[in-house]
Amino acid sequence: MNRLRRRDFVRLSGAAAATAGGLGAILATGRAPAYAQQTTLHWVRWSDFVPASDVLLKNQITKECQKALGINLQLETINANDIQARVTSAIQSGNGPDIILGLNNWPQLYTASLADMTDVAEEIGEQQGGYYPISKQVGMVGNKWIGVPWCIGGGLVAYRKSWFEAIGYNTFPDTWEKLQDAGKKLKAKGTPVGQALSHSFGDPPGFWYPWLWSFGGKEVEADGKTVALNSKETLESIKTAVPFWNDACDPGGLSWDDSSNNRAFLSGTIACTNNGASIYIEAKRKPDTYQTDDGKPMYLDIRHAALPKGPGGQYNLPGPFTDMVMGYSKNQDAAKTFLKWIHSKPVFEEWFTSQQGYTDGATKYWEGDKVWSADPVLAPFKNVPAQGRLTGFAGPPDRAAAEVQTKYIIIDMYAKAVQGATAEDALNWATGELKSIYGA
C-alpha cells in the first residue's frame, strides 16, 4: 500500500472540499474568497401626505427590490420643508443620499450636481406614452434629463356639495365673481372659503399663481428675462383679490400652513379649499370621525372642482416630483437600475394604487389606470397635469422662478393688498423684487 503523505492528504481532501465548498474549498484554491457585495441605495423622500404609500414603500417595495435586484433599499422620509436643507448639505459635503426626491422646480437649482438620467427617463417615457410638458420643464436642461420624473401632485377645490346647494349653487361656481358671491353667503353662515395666503410652500402658490394667471397676469415674458408682472391684468387681479378675500375668505388663512386647511375643512369650519385629494381620502378613511351635522359620513358630501375662470382663463399649478440621482453618488448604476425597475408598470402600479388618486403619473400612461374609475369623486384629478402651468410663466421654471417662489413675492403681493396696501403699491413692490431677481 502506498503511504499517503500528509501533504497529499490535504491536497486531495481540499480538492474534494473544493467541489463541496466551505473553508476547505477556500484553502484549496489558495485565493481569498470574493463575496458578492450587496449594494445599498439610500433614497430620501418627503413624508407622503398619504401615509399608506410610505408604508408600502418601506415594507413591500423594499422587500421586492431586494429580491428582484439584490439592492438593499434604505428609504428615509422627512418633512418636505427639510428636503432642500438635506440636498444643500449633501451637495456641499459631497456625501449623502444616493437619490433625493425633489419637489416643484428644485432640480433646476442643482443642475450642476445631478447625474445624467437621459437614458433612464427616455426609456420610461417611451414605454409609457410620453411625459407631460411640466415634467420635462423641471426635469430637463436642454435635451438632457437631470432627474427621473416620479409623479405629479395636483390641486382641485374640495367643497361641501350640500352647503353650496343650500345657497343656490348646484355645481361649484365656475367664475371668481360667482365664488365671491357664494363665499359671502357661506361666510355669513360661519363657513367661509378657506385659502392660505401665507409663507408655506404648497397651498399658497397653488392658489395664488393660478389666480394671477386667470386674470392674464404673468411674471416674465417668454424670453425668461423681461419682467412682465407690472401690467393692467395683474393690477386687476390684485384689486379683485381684496374684496374676494374680505367678503368670502377665512382671515386665518394669512397664517395657515399646508395642513391648516385640511384640519379646517375636516372640522367643518370652511366650505371649500384648493387642495390635493388628501382631504377626501382622509374623510373616507375615517367615516365615523368626520361626519356632517346630520351624522352622515362627510366624505359622501365632498366633491372636487377646478379653480374658477378669470378673464384670462382657467389654470392650476401642479407640483411635479422628480427623483434626483446625486452626482457624488458612487451607486449611480444601481440607482438607474432601481429607478427603471420601480417605474416598471407592475411595480409602480402598486404605489400608484396606494395613492388613491392623490397624485397623477408623470407619464400619460397612468391616465388609463383603474384608480380613476374606482371612485368618481377623485376622477377630476386625472386631468390636472394636462391643464397645469408652472411658476416663472411665461418663462421657464428656472432658478429665478424658484427664488420668486421661495421669497413668496407673488403671495405677499396679494397679502400686502389684503392687509391694507393699495393695489398699485403692492404691485410696484412685487415688480421691484422681480426685477432685482431677474437682473432687469
Partner: protein, 316 residues
Amino acid sequence: MSQVSTVAASDVYTPARPRGAITRLLEDERWLGLTLLTPTLVLLGLFTAYPFVKGIELAVTDTRVGIPGHFVGIQNFVVLWHDDIFRMAVWNTCFYTVVATTVKLGLGLWLALLLNRSFRGKALMRAAILLPFIIPTVLSTFAWKWMFDPTFSVLNYVLLHLHLITIADRINWLGVPWLAMASVIVVNVWRGVPFFAISLLAGLQTISPELHEAAAIDGARAWQRFRHVTWPLLLPVTMVVMLFSVIQTFADFQIVYVLTGGGPANTTQLFATYAYQIGIGTGLLSQGAAISLAIFPILLIVVIVQLVYIRKVEIA
C-alpha cells in the same frame, strides 16, 4: 536625643521619583494653562471660527449650491442694501430684540426678587421656572403654534367662553402683522424669562442682607432700597445677562420659522430666517451668508457698548 531617637531613620536613601518630560512641562503654569485650554480652543476653532471664516468667504463670492463661486467683493451686500425684504428683516430683528429683551429683563428681575424671598416650596419653584428654558425650543414653539392656531386656538376658545369675543371676531394671532410680531415676542419672552430670573437670582444672592438692614434702619423704603442698594450691586450681572440675551435674541431662528415662516408678508422676517430662506430655499449660499454676516457689525457695536458699560460699572 529622645526626639532624635523617635525619628525613623531610613537605611536606604530613596531619591525622588524621576519626573517625565511631560510632567515637568506641566508644572509650568503657562504650559498647563495652554494644555487645559486646548480642547476649548479646538472646539471653538472647529465650530465657531471655521464657520465664521467660511461664511466671510462665501459672502464675498457668488457661490451657489454645488457651484463654487468667484470673488465679487461686496456685491452681495450691495444687493441686500437695495432689497426691501432685507431692510424689513433688519428693522424687525432690532425691534424684536429690543422689545423682547426689555420685557424679559423686567419680568426676570421681578421673578428673581420674588424667588429671593423665603417661602415654602422655594426650591421646587426655582426648578420649575426653568422648564420653558430647558424644553427644546421647537417642541414648545409647536405647542404655541397650536395655541395661536386661527381655527383651533385655545386662547380664542377661552375668550369666546368668557364672552369677550364672538366667533366672527376670532383673534388672528399670527395673521395680523402687529399681532404676529407680538406673538413671536411673547413666545421668546416665555422662553427667555427663566434665564434672566435664575441669573439675576444668583446675583441677588451675592448682595449682603446687612446692606438692606442698614438701609432700612436709616429709614429707606422698599423702592429706595431697591434703587440705591439692590440695583447698583446687581448691575454688573444684569449687563452680562442682557449681553447674552441680546446676542441670542438677535440670532433667533426657531420661533419665527415654526410660527410664521417670516410672514405675514415678511412682517416677522428676521435675519436668520431670511438667511435660511435665501441660502437654502434658492441655493444662493453667498447671499444667505451675506445676510448672516450682516448681523455681525450691528452685534459687535452692541457688545462693545455693553462691555464698556460693564467695565465702567465694575470700576465704579
